[in-house]
Symmetry: C2
Subunit: 244 residues, 2 copies
């Protein structure tokens, strides 16, 4: 089975998605934050592309929260930003969140047509790999895996690529990868013992540290601390507990 | 000074090019072939985007040769393909070649607005780095370097990325790189002792070998065998001998 890794949400090349499983990665910070939100009891996350769309959807559902960022900062009038530390149980427990971020929600929309879409980050990488392996065993029509790195405003991003490399590495030796998948795996293997340092020195890591989000960088660099496997279902991200 | 590396000719993100020097890399095979052609006495290369444009330009200049490929194969009715072995002195000595390739000529056009555009490959990497360093010393308005990997039909390509990494590595420690530049440098440093093997196992390397171009793969994987520094001038690639 082939794993195709794509470098950014705006990737000019996209494989056919019909019988693929897709994985969306936005280490800094959308997917790390989503995984954290579910771990803290969030009920569902609706990813939307624009702040206007987020506000409009909330009009019909006043109990929903608004979350997200623009230029890495919270959006005025929204309930939560894009920091995992915003998504504590007291705020998000039992809630549905309408979320818009610069790269992560775009990447989710880019692969929404895949047979199954998982949300991954370093925090839950191992659980997502287990879930994909189970899903593939139960669904014989699946003919490939697409891992999309959200990237940083259409640019290649080291944190997302390293996380893609970790997934490729764990998905095992029966899989083949495209060039970016192989490169990501090589990069992961030479960086895994100093993941926090490598992520801190990335463009996005330095940006976050420069505006006071050092704690987010450290938090998002922790592999396999959460057993959460969010999936996209009819445009809504939920925390799947059982593999169908 | 900042080095921005771009992953493919169709990169959705492009920095401002006005005061930048740009480097175009298409290891398999357009830029390796161009460098070889100049080494064998070719006078000039006119990169064009389509076969139609190539044929049309030749109508006015019947002495020019037509070169290039589609799907890695020679184009019917053209004088030379995209293999460096086609560009021998007997064929290209003293000639001007109108050339169209799937990725390389597109990448040249994508950065044509830069202050100076160099054509690089493993074959001439060291000479291009020397030329860029000289150019920057003589032209103080230059505020950055853009290295564009032609990629493979809009996809990230290991051969081009490793060559970009070699350039980043040689350009030295006074330079900063974007995430892709850093990743490319890391990949180059772990692959440089088995460059031929790594290039052979890449997607494009395997494609070329599968259609009989093993020799091209081996040839293009040789670093620093030619002292040729082609540049783009008014839409025409020529072998610059003196840095202005």
């Amino acid at each position: 089975m082939l794993i195709d890794v794509l470098p950014s949400a705006g990737s000019p090349w996209m494989p056919a998605l019909k019988n693929k499983v897709a994985v969306v990665i936005d280490v800094f910070r959308a997917t790390s934050t989503m995984v954290t939100a579910f771990s803290n009891g969030c009920r569902a996350i609706i990813p939307v592309l624009t702040t206007e769309e987020a506000l409009e959807r909330r009009t019909n559902e006043p109990g929903y929260l608004l979350g997200g960022e623009r230029r890495a900062l919270p959006i005025e009038g929204f309930d939560v930003g894009n920091s995992p530390y915003d998504y504590v149980t007291e705020k998000v427990g039992g809630k549905t969140i309408i979320m818009t971020t610069t790269n992560g929600t775009r990447a989710i929309h880019a692969v929404a047509e895949a047979r199954q879409v998982w949300i991954a980050s370093f925090l839950n990488a191992g659980s997502v790999v287990d879930a994909i392996n189970q899903y593939i065993r139960k669904n014989s029509e699946i003919d490939g895996i697409v891992i999309i790195c959200a990237g940083s405003e259409d640019r290649f991003d080291i944190p997302d690529t390293l996380c893609a490399g970790m997934l490729v590495d764990m998905l095992g030796k029966d899989m083949e990868s495209n060039d970016l998948g192989r490169a990501a795996q090589m990069l992961y293997n030479i960086s895994k013992d100093r993941l926090h340092e490598t992520l801190s020195m990335s463009e996005h890591g330095r940006l976050l540290q420069s505006i006071g989000y050092e704690k987010d960088v450290s938090y998002c660099a922790q592999p396999n601390i959460l057993s959460i496997t969010p999936v996209l279902e009819d445009g809504v991200v939920i925390a799947r507990t059982e593999i169908i």
